[in-house]
């Protein structure tokens, strides 16, 4: 049963309980979501195309390089597990940042919030006494709390002092990362290791594996559940409506009785909590210890992921997977073809540039 677009629409108006497939098709055919998905895909393809120029100039074949990239990312179950683990923090952090974007708040403090979350989770994992499963849950929860507090601090500075959130979140990043370093070089550091890292956690408080025999931990499942919940939160709840209203127009939000301060605080706490959770799953699921510099710029990359996913919690998932698999394949590309792995950062950057340009282009056309 293929209905023309208009028929689907009119049917939707007349029939609120349209069959799910009709609604899905309506959503896909009609929504800005499909357009931005297409835009993102084209942007990614363009980025690959442009990046083949430097590969060609270094005398290598882009096709072979990209093949080894794909192979490195998907080549075996281990590779896939590695890539999925890499994507997990991106999903968690970017979902929170996407919610902030929706409310018109720019949270670029993911890095500091991740650090705070990881630090708190590590401390609990190392020091709490009790049944291992409960310790693990407590570690995750304290990661969430620490990330939320870190973001809440930035929001408080924004609300009480009027410092723009870009500044307050950005500057707290440095503080957060350095606090981790200070802890690892001090009380939390492993004696005699010669490297700023904490002792290993007890195996039993670390995140369980999703597939026996692989490195894939349950963080991915948590991240996917978070993305779905965030999608529902944004589109189906009063809180989500308030976020979108605030992002749509501050004065309309005032008019509708939406409190700027409490909404900004809430979305920042939420976003920071998710970043803190990402930090906690990273130390509890991948490293089994807190290591200096473990987060490799997750907080910043996640801003790019949120943008590529058009600030849509569900669309953030494929965007995060793309980044995760790209980075996972990068090392293989370097090893096998001799193309520097940093070129994938070029691909990431260009994807974002092209995706944002396409969005701007679209807006320009609509304005006319």
């Amino acid at each position: 049963m293929l209905l023309p677009d208009s028929a689907v629409q009119s049917r939707r108006v007349a029939e609120p309980y349209a069959a799910w497939n009709v609604r899905v098709r309506h959503h896909i055919g009609n929504s800005a979501g499909m357009q931005s998905a297409l835009r993102a895909i084209v942007a990614v393809l363009l980025a690959f195309l442009v990046t083949s120029i430097p590969i060609l100039m270094s005398g290598k074949s882009p096709l072979i390089a990209y093949w080894s990239l794909v192979n490195g990312a998907f080549g075996s179950l281990d590779h896939i597990a590695f890539a999925l683990n890499k994507s997990t923090p991106y999903i968690l952090i970017a979902v929170g940042i996407a919610l902030c974007f929706r409310a018109g708040i720019i949270n670029i403090g993911g890095e500091g919030q991740v650090a705070a979350g990881a630090l708190a989770a590590s401390w609990v994992a190392l020091n709490a006494i009790g049944p291992p499963f409960l310790v693990m849950i407590l570690a995750l929860a304290s990661g969430v709390a620490a990330g939320a507090i870190w973001a809440g601090l930035a929001a408080a500075i924004r609300l009480a002092r009027g410092v723009h959130e870009v500044l307050s979140t950005l500057l707290l990043n440095f503080v957060g990362v350095l606090v981790v370093s200070a802890a690892l070089n001090g009380a939390m550091g492993e004696q005699g290791s010669g490297f700023p890292q904490s002792p290993m956690f007890d195996d039993r408080v670390c995140l369980p594996k999703l597939l026996a025999g692989s490195d894939l931990h349950v963080g991915l499942v948590i991240a996917l559940i978070v993305a779905v919940i965030a999608q529902i939160l944004l589109w189906r709840t009063r809180f989500g409506f308030r976020l979108r209203l605030l992002g749509g127009s501050r004065s309309a939000a005032d008019y509708a009785g939406v409190s700027f301060a409490s909404t900004v605080m809430a979305v920042m706490l939420l976003s920071g909590g998710l970043a803190g959770l990402a930090g906690a799953t990273e130390v509890l699921g991948v490293h089994y210890r807190l290591i200096e510099g473990f987060s490799q710029g997750f907080g910043f990359t996640a801003v790019a992921v949120a943008l590529l996913g058009a600030a849509d919690p569900l669309a953030v998932v494929p965007a995060a997977l793309f980044f995760g698999f790209l980075q996972a394949g990068a090392l293989a590309m370097q090893r096998e073809v001799g193309v520097p792995s940093s070129l994938v950062f070029v691909i990431q950057g260009l994807s974002i540039v092209f995706a944002l340009s396409a969005m701007a282009l679209d807006r320009g056309r609509r304005r006319v």
């Binding site: 009119s10 108006v13 309309a252 008019y255 009785g257």
Partner: protein, 494 residues
């Protein structure tokens, strides 16, 4: 302009429009919202490309021109929303984006030019003023100076009087006359028939994207022009039922707000509105009307004074609590306050009701109820859109205002605060808004109607008051109102 055709998808915005403006003539362009005026002017100014048709200016065919080329050719456009930088002085704004200002700026030379033009055209613009400190009318004059100095022979004024006070309007009309004397041509876009009759030499009326009439002003009357515009007789008086006011619903005592600039202060405002009664408040914009309404709606906190709704003190209540008690509000600003343009119609209709049943189900939004309410309200107010999921920005101004009316009146409030709800609407849509407000009054609601259109205030008000300098005159019943005295009050002379 010959045979201009422009289609937006299925919408035929212009279908073969001819417009001829001779040198030194003032041509009025009339038409309802959505009749194609803006589209035609955007084509002329090079902001959009027509699907077919020709633009000939001073013997030169303009094809695929950009606004920059239009300016270079001698066409100037004064938009409704000004393109000035608030933090800069008049001189700096004039120099901005102007090649002839030179690579090295010579502000003194430009300032002299501004003074000279200002004298020639009676603009009274001071080059050293910072734009942020200027009134709306003065900013408009800065725009006019900008256009003149850039060599505009043809000026397009897009609804130039919609935000001006009566003396400012008179001043603007004087400026237009001076422009005409100096050989400039003017296209004057307006909804206000008296102004068009006063200033224009000829009038082109657009309806549904085509020319509905082209008359010399000597041959036109206000009624004939209005008829051409909407093809129905608008001079029929607004029907009002006999006035039977009930108990006092809204009481305001000694409301004051003494901080902020002079135009935003309120001084000891006291009044009451009864059920089934409209208190209409006249006054020039910027005399505290916005602040009064924001205080009453709960958007701004009240520092001194008391507000009571149905006996209950709501002075300290927030926006949501006041909504719940039956206080509705139509703000003046459709572009970003009463509507979110990027939101769908359904979301806009739900905007102020999401925290109460039936739209709220615990922390969730009841999507079915949202759609149900959207459909009911769209039908009730005849909002023309294919479905409730269309963004509000795609609708015409009239249909956008219908969304606001449907939301605020559809809630069946006890008190309605309306702030210039007909602003920028064509006569048909304005009439709809007024009829809805009268219906609400007849159903027993108390209405506070604030407008700078004196005609509206006199037509609508059961009680009439004037706001000036943050003070409200004591309301008088419509029968006893003396128009001269109102004029004096508005001018702050009584």
């Amino acid at each position: 302009m010959h045979g201009i055709v422009k289609n937006y998808g299925a919408v035929r915005a212009n279908r073969g429009v001819d417009l001829i403006v001779a040198e030194g003539r003032v041509v009025g362009l009339l038409g309802e919202n959505g009749s194609g005026k803006s589209t035609l002017m955007k084509v002329l100014f090079g902001m959009i490309r027509p699907d077919s048709g020709r633009v000939v200016f001073a013997g030169r065919v303009l094809t695929d021109h950009t606004p920059r080329m239009a300016i270079a050719a001698g066409i100037g456009m004064i938009h409704q929303h000004f393109t000035l930088v608030d933090a800069m002085t008049v001189t700096e704004n004039v120099m901005l984006g102007w090649n002839e200002a030179g690579g090295f700026l010579k502000p003194d030379r430009i300032a002299r030019k501004i003074e000279e033009a200002s004298r020639n055209y009676g603009l009274a613009v001071n080059p050293g003023d910072v734009v942020a400190n200027l009134s709306f009318g003065q900013r408009q004059r800065v725009e006019i100076v900008k256009a003149i100095l850039r060599g505009s022979k043809l000026l397009i004024l897009d609804e130039p009087t919609s935000n001006l006070s009566p003396p400012e309007v008179a001043g603007l009309l004087g400026v237009i006359r001076r422009l005409k004397e100096q050989g400039h041509s003017v296209v004057f876009i307006s909804h206000k028939l008296p102004e068009v009759m006063e200033i224009c030499d000829e009038v082109v009326v657009l309806r549904d994207g085509a020319v509905a009439g082209h008359v010399q002003i000597a041959d036109a009357t206000q009624e004939s022009l209005a008829r051409m515009m909407v093809e129905r007789d608008l001079s029929a008086p607004v029907l009002r039922k006999n006035h039977t006011p009930g108990a006092v619903v809204l009481t305001v005592e000694g409301l004051s707000r003494c901080d902020g600039p002079a135009g935003q202060q309120l001084h000891d405002i006291t009044f009451t509105v009864r059920a089934g009664e409209i208190l209409a408040v006249a006054g020039v914009d910027g005399n505290g009307q916005r602040e009064l309404l924001d205080c009453l709606a709960g958007i701004t906190a009240v520092k001194a004074g008391r507000i009571r709704l149905d006996g209950a003190d709501i002075t300290r209540k927030n926006v949501r609590q006041r909504l719940e008690l039956g206080l509705a509000f139509i703000p003046v600003d459709r572009a970003s306050t009463s509507l979110v343009p990027g939101f769908t119609i359904a979301d806009n209709l739900a905007m102020r009701d999401i925290d109460r049943p039936p739209l709220a189900t615990g922390p969730f939004l009841n999507a079915t109820a949202v759609r149900q309410m959207a459909r009911t309200r769209m039908a009730a107010c005849d909002i023309r859109a294919s479905n409730p999921d269309v963004p509000a920005s795609s609708l015409s101004g009239g249909n956008q205002q219908k969304i606001v009316i449907a939301r605020e009146i559809g809630r069946q409030p006890k008190v309605l605060l309306a702030f210039q709800p007909t602003w920028g609407l064509d006569p048909g849509a304005a009439r709809f808004v007024i009829d809805q407000i009268l219906l609400l009054r007849d159903a027993g609601a108390a209405v506070l109607y604030v407008s700078s259109e004196l005609g509206e205030v006199l037509t609508l008000g059961d009680q009439i008051a004037v706001m000036s300098g943050g003070r409200l005159s004591s309301p008088a019943p419509r029968g006893t109102v003396d128009v001269t005295r109102i004029g004096m009050l508005m001018a702050g002379a009584a």
